[in-house]
Symmetry: C2
Subunit: 206 residues, 2 copies
């Protein structure tokens, strides 16, 4: 295994990981070759072979990798074997979708709780996770050592919730509200913009 990995390789590792994790369970029990991965993802197979060799020593000529082992190796390299607890603020359709979304687990994220200020939503379970009142946010996050928060509140409330998350010790915030929010010092915010993703796809071909 090489220790020096290029930023290009690093940027592709999550793509391989994502693809492998999304395979049907039967295929995860078998082997997979760099060539097969390259074909499925439309990438150059020499490049894929090199990328995989830089993070896993499980590849065998003509056999390929044990899929589950390769998932483990890439995940370990990327730090996905960590388990990080995540909270979601805003229990509209978007927030409820986050609590029900079953793609987080493979990346080591446990969405453990939702928050809302609407009494009709508080106290219910969504996707098996409890919804608490937003006023419990600070206490809950500090007590449970939460470092990651997802914001799915209306635009008008997004900056305030961001500030409250920061006060509660949260260090990483993924914002889905359709408004740019600013990170307080020491906190990283990613403003996810679905319209922009769509625009880059449909208008710029990216």
């Amino acid at each position: 295994m090489e220790k020096n990995i290029t930023s290009q390789t690093l940027s592709r590792l999550p793509i391989y990981f994502n693809y492998l994790v999304s395979l049907p369970e039967e295929r995860k029990k078998g082997n997979i070759s760099a060539t097969a991965i390259a074909e499925a993802l439309g990438l150059n197979d020499v490049q894929v072979r090199k990328d995989l060799a830089s993070v896993s020593c499980g590849g065998r000529p003509k056999v390929g990798y044990m899929t589950s082992e390769l998932i483990g190796d890439i995940g370990k390299f990327l730090g996905f074997e960590n388990h990080d607890k995540v909270v979601v603020a805003g229990m509209g359709n978007f927030g409820r979708a986050m609590l029900e979304y079953n793609g987080f687990e493979a990346y080591g994220f446990d969405i453990i709780c939702g928050f809302d200020c609407n009494k009709e939503r508080v106290g219910k379970n969504v996707g098996g996770k409890p919804v608490r009142h937003i006023d419990e946010l600070e206490d809950f996050c500090l007590t449970n050592d939460i470092r990651i928060g997802i914001i799915t509140v209306p635009e008008t409330a997004a900056q305030e919730v961001c500030d409250r998350m920061a006060e509660a010790g949260i260090k990483y915030i993924l914002n889905f509200a359709a408004v740019h929010i600013n990170a307080p010092k020491g906190v990283a915010v990613h403003n996810e913009n679905i319209s922009l993703t769509l625009a880059m796809l449909a208008r710029c071909g990216a």
Copy 2:
């Protein structure tokens, strides 16, 4: 206005656009300087000044740009003044959130209709938009010349819906199902992976 624009500038234009569009309505009626934009986004102000000058000739020394004009110029450059009709397949929480999301309009996307196979969902309105049966997808898309589709169905159905969208003449597909789907020839698919975005933010600082 320069006609040759670097790919770096091109990648930043949507960030400016997104920021400007997200400003409160009062601020959109006033002026804004490159310096103010640079500060708000944590970018170099010389770079921002150059970027803006390459797509808008509305900037004045010490005054800046008329915000609304600058939004128009950047949007025009990026093709956001187009109006593209978009359909959403899958009316779970995620799909309903898409129909209700009000960030698409500024980018020139009209989400006009949702589709589902569940009889309890079909015929209802979500976010003021009708939900039709998935079996109407092909006819509806061909009749209305739909080029863009969003997939929010369960993982097991995502590839099939993708194939059906392609048959219905859709050219650009944004996939939110937590599974990698392959684009039929002539169709561009963007597999949006929320877990990956979160992982890049919280584990790789990107």
